[in-house]
Symmetry: C2
Subunit: 213 residues, 2 copies
């Protein structure tokens, strides 16, 4: 059975769980706590030299990494990825936006708040990350002002990619109240058939988030 190596409270990992659940496709989840160095063992690095989660492992041992490349591979031939070449291009465009302009600000701010000590020097990065994260949220709000989903007429993998860390942006200190269209879109995603929420962080991480925001 296809295996996903992932850290449950990671948005990049949860993307795969959400799509696989919504596709109704069987999979095995192998928990890898990247926050405790489990992606830096010799065994893990032999499979993914870049030392990150998630990682997809097929029955025959073939490996695919990078969350959005995995989403795209799994969604091929399903309603989660349109057939139309232009719509497919727009889906990929939003997924590259997510990894370049969104995740490195919004996910990283959440990581700093919840997964580093309260006196970590990395906390000095938070103001700049929040400024850039709000710029990404504003781009999304503008798109959603006139459209229900990120690609064409239907919910799909661009929505899943962008939902993952937007839905928990509050953990990184992002107030979503200035973005009404975005908040409506988050609610629409939560209402899609087979939706599953991301598991909560551990009590230790949740306490750090609460103390940070």
């Amino acid at each position: 059975m296809t295996a996903v190596h992932g850290y449950s409270p990671s948005g990049n990992c949860h993307k795969l769980r959400l799509l696989l659940e919504q596709l109704g496709r069987p999979y095995r989840w192998i928990e890898v706590d990247s926050s405790k160095g489990e992606t830096r063992t010799a065994e893990y690095l032999a499979k993914n030299p870049n030392g990150k989660v998630p990682m997809l492992e097929l029955d025959d041992g073939r490996i695919l990494v990078e969350s959005n490349a995995i989403l795209h591979f799994l969604a091929e031939g399903t309603s989660f990825l349109p057939d139309d070449p232009w719509q497919r291009a727009q889906a990929l465009s939003w997924m590259f936006f997510e990894q370049y302009s969104h995740e490195p600000c919004i996910a990283v701010a959440r990581f700093i708040c919840g997964w580093t000590p309260l006196d970590s020097p990395r906390r000095a990065d938070l103001p700049r990350l929040r400024e850039r994260g709000h710029a990404a949220l504003a781009v999304m709000e503008r798109h959603l002002g006139t459209r229900a989903w990120f690609t064409g007429a239907d919910y799909g993998i661009a929505d899943i990619a962008l939902f993952a860390y937007t839905d928990v942006a509050g953990d990184g200190g992002f107030d979503l109240s200035p973005y009404p269209a975005l908040r409506d879109w988050l609610a629409r995603v939560r209402d899609t058939p087979g939706f599953v929420a991301m598991p909560a962080p551990s009590p230790e991480n949740a306490a750090l988030i609460a103390a940070s925001t």
Copy 2:
């Protein structure tokens, strides 16, 4: 005719020039100097709210952004993107690696060296960017130790995406001598039919690079 809005010394922009030249496909290049705020005008933001180059504009006014999404769109149905689903997935995986683990270190280090004043506070980021950039180069070296190209048996868009900033990594202070397989691959890319080199930075930017590295 398809138009590319781009800043010539940007690797992300040069990716598109290189692919279009190698495809022999006609295009119009519209120079947009992102280093002088030309992606932040009202006119530009109306087309790309994220305010970045490159941007592809079709004859009918449709817009596609994100360099690697544009490469993928332009390469569809050509030898630069394989038909095999697994090879296609690996191509996308390397392209997401490029935008997440490579460009934000190697391209950003080059930008700081060549496009910010010698007393810029951003220069304090260089040691961390170089450490992370070398980690990305080591991942590439490991792959290239046993393979000629990044996807399957042939040169393709994953190679183009990764070539762009690797070939000018020296501008950001990266010494490539520890990466013999990577240097051989750079030479193979330069030998591909229709290859065009990235235009040199302006004398002003070149002088900053020379003073920084």
